[in-house]
Symmetry: C2
Subunit: 638 residues, 2 copies
Amino acid sequence: MGAKADQRRLFGSAMKILTLLFGRRLANREYQDRKIGWVAGVPAMGLDGLGSSSYGPEAALTVLIPLGAASLYHVGWVIAPIVGLLAILYLSYRQTLLAYPSNGGAYTVARENLGKGGGLLAAAALMIDYVLNVAVGISAGVGALTSSYPALHPYTLWLCLGILALVAAANLRGTREAGWLFAVPTYVFLCSFIGIIGYGLVQLHLSGGAPTPVVAPRPLPPATETLSLWLLLRAFAAGCTAMTGVEAVSNGVDAFKEPVLRQARATLTVICLSLGMLLAGVALLAQGYQIGAMDQTQPGYQSIMSQLVSAIAGRGPLYYVAMTSLLAILCLSANTSFVAFPRICRLVALDDYLPRSFAVSDRRLVFSVGVIFLTITGGALLVLFDGITDRLIPLFAIGAFLTFTISQIGMIVHWRRVGRQGRRLAMNALGAATTLIALAIIIVAKFSEGAWIVMLAMPLTIVLLLSVHRYYARVERRLSVAGKFRIEEREAPTVLVAYEERNRMTDRALGFALTLSPDVVAVHLLRLRDPEAEEDLARIRDVFAREIAAPVEAAGMTPPRLMFLRAAYRQMSGPLIELVEKIDAAAPGRSVAILVPERVHRHWWERLLHGRRARQLRAALMAQAGPRLMIVTAPWRG
Amino acid sequence: MGAKADQRRLFGSAMKILTLLFGRRLANREYQDRKIGWVAGVPAMGLDGLGSSSYGPEAALTVLIPLGAASLYHVGWVIAPIVGLLAILYLSYRQTLLAYPSNGGAYTVARENLGKGGGLLAAAALMIDYVLNVAVGISAGVGALTSSYPALHPYTLWLCLGILALVAAANLRGTREAGWLFAVPTYVFLCSFIGIIGYGLVQLHLSGGAPTPVVAPRPLPPATETLSLWLLLRAFAAGCTAMTGVEAVSNGVDAFKEPVLRQARATLTVICLSLGMLLAGVALLAQGYQIGAMDQTQPGYQSIMSQLVSAIAGRGPLYYVAMTSLLAILCLSANTSFVAFPRICRLVALDDYLPRSFAVSDRRLVFSVGVIFLTITGGALLVLFDGITDRLIPLFAIGAFLTFTISQIGMIVHWRRVGRQGRRLAMNALGAATTLIALAIIIVAKFSEGAWIVMLAMPLTIVLLLSVHRYYARVERRLSVAGKFRIEEREAPTVLVAYEERNRMTDRALGFALTLSPDVVAVHLLRLRDPEAEEDLARIRDVFAREIAAPVEAAGMTPPRLMFLRAAYRQMSGPLIELVEKIDAAAPGRSVAILVPERVHRHWWERLLHGRRARQLRAALMAQAGPRLMIVTAPWRG
């Protein structure tokens, strides 16, 4: 079996490279083994949400800087509604998971309950949000990294792209691999921060509300503005970024193993509970330790989290462990997009609103087209903004809150439809109302900062999705056929064989051709390579007649004919197509097959030595083929 | 015929772009119209030679700088032998053209008279020399340009690549177009410099050898060295770069129209005569006007030519016209390579020492593979050396003189063979002896400056050429077949049709299949896209039996069968190849055809919406195909 081994070698070596990069290919029956539980689910889907716990309060307090020390007094008014909203969202998503255990994402819920329009709105909002999250998440993480290690600053873009490549590669191996790969920083982060904040809260209680910081935070600047409702609303809108990523579990449900509902709910619970505790803890402790936001553009800037951990636990090893895990979480928050985005795209593609390749699972059972699309668009945003996507942050929460709202409204319709109008409906109605109000506040507060871009991108995306759908519908109509199969021809086709000189390859091709039809014509093209070439036509004709046609006739079969065609432009396709048209005209309705012997290369460099005539001919014939043309390739391994 | 127009639209628009860039395609019968006379031949092939007239004397005088004013006294000792050598070369190449009127290049002459080894040595030397000439010629021209306009200096590499692109594009249109395009600077250069030098010589004569310069050249520096033979030899070796390009006409003979011999000889005469006059004139006038070489690294540097023209004609408009034409000639001297290199490669490829694509003339009747290869290698050298290829100049004359010598020795053998031992043989013997001596001097004088690189590259190139030849010989052996055509099978093959669901495309494919064989199997692959997909097998089976198999049977034909295959890895090729192997085992010696319906796209963006499954399947089947497999494509225009 040496020949067979050899014939698969080239094919095999390409596969080996893929295996090395992304792991061995997985069989369909391994699909169930690829599912994850909540332990891997939290790092896979929760990094965006958990990372938010750091930049949500920071964003809110930054808006409140002009209030000076008073900002801390009022931060409660901002964080408390956010935590409340989080609780409502948590409870509503629990319900959604119960109602749609196979997929509880906003797209599914909206499409089922609000129709096509609602589904597309949710899909567009989610898709835009997840693309933004990749760019913003990575660049925010790298921004935090370079502000800790300023020497890295010149490499910002490369660091961003490196992390993007890491996350993309992990997800091309599979959600499971990504989950386990990122589990360590996630759980280190959760343990250290919950520990530190818990300890801080105990200190706060013991000290009667005025604990002594280990490292004193910088005193707050004097107030430059007085409290206004507008300021509070803007702080609330800014803080709402803390909530993005909460919907990821509902979009990623089909990644979970059985019992799916329990695993998904456990993941959601861990994420929301941690996020809530962190948000509330940070708000309380910031008040207690008198920690306010600093101006990022000033030297000596420290984030709220850094000040907080220093104040509670000092600058020991614990500080560095905690802050490193936070950095890692921020950098990797893009992973949430990589888990949720391909799954949404798959659902949208299954409904023919996106190219169908988004719904195809690859050799690793991953929807790799979605992963690659996300990598390219996220990477393009990073390159475009040179790795600094601050300006995209205002765009960020809109998509999330829009999908929250749509999903809640969908659930209201759902409960009414199934006739359950009690507690569940009330919960979703409350959720819808609050997220709608939050959405309105966010849009108003952030409109001029760039929210309008999202408001513009959304309808454009929907138009794109609709035109894809229209295209597929048109193709479907063209392909559809009714009634019984019609036999349009019975006679074997004329088979034209590309023929230069007699050799093993043309012998094989003619042998094939004779099994297909008694009407075989070997076509020799004159002056194909060289306009000045003198060809020995008499010899070619004689060899054909004596060595090929005669023995075939002697065996009682119709012998093939030889035909010379002038290749006036040194191309095969033109004269062949003209010949096909002539044959068509002579015998309408009968097919013509063009048989092209094609060499199979054993090594990549053989391509350089043989040219691409067979392939180019095939492509040109395809492009010009009429309705009755077949192209037959006879592979020859020389 | 709207459908046919439509079906060729996409193919046509690609052609339109090509036409716009490189002109309409040319028919074989237009080949003769593409030939050129001597008027276009001089700019096409002579730019390297003519440009040499400026940098040959400059190079020689630069070596002599340490002699101070005495350098001018001795320059005659250097230039006179060079002009003598040129005369000998001219006369010998005239003879060569007579003896080999279809191609008098060193490769042909050496192969015919000195055997394979001599031919390959000449080919390697020429090929290396022409690649070097592209990089060195362009960068020398751009160097002269940026020293005149220092503001352009930062764009050196881009200017080099721009000129390379211009010359390459002109030659992809055709040698004829390149010749006419570059005719203006060439003839402006010839007229202005021959005029200026002639006028200068008259002044020199009238003034009794001491003319008054219009613009006085800078006084010569004091001597720092005394005359030595070694210095003179080095100056001679440096000055010999003036001779490169003289062989180009012999390599480009087939570009000339009838009478070929007369056109080629006229071109050679114009080039050699102009070059000789310029060299001799510059040497005499440099002595008369006391013009020496300046150190290029010092500020205020001026080339010999610039000083000379200033001294004779002042700094009026004529100066600028002359110097601009010289600049243009230098920049465009790469054109000589673009004319000669593809033609040599064609000859070498026709003998199977280079990939055969080098011998294929493209839609413009150009050997475009050679042009593109030269562009890429020349461009790579330019990029590698950042557009400053001074260090490559020492490598430059070796290849030229080696081919001179080989060609002369070949001619000696030729005259002996044809029995003419008189004047002609003596002339070539003289040529061989002198060029061999010059070659020895050049190698010795330049060895440490980099000549060793060429001495190393040459055998490597020859080894490469030989291994290409060995490869083709092996392929030839494998392909060769003796005796009568053997009919190995008579029965129609089993035809497997890739089948997903019934539609117009599969109807067409099954219709085709039924004309090819009574043994047709529609193969449906299970869970091909989605490992979790639930497929309605009963429905698919029922539709097939009722709507397809039944009517075919009713028409008295063997109905196709439907088969389900499990695509365990979501790939079509694996299960199909396994099925083919099973069929092979059951009926050995009988072929199997796999018929794949493939959509023909009307617009480029349709690719994005359809995936590449048919192509990927074809590629995988090709890679894994056994000896009895055909792949049939049924193009479908949906």
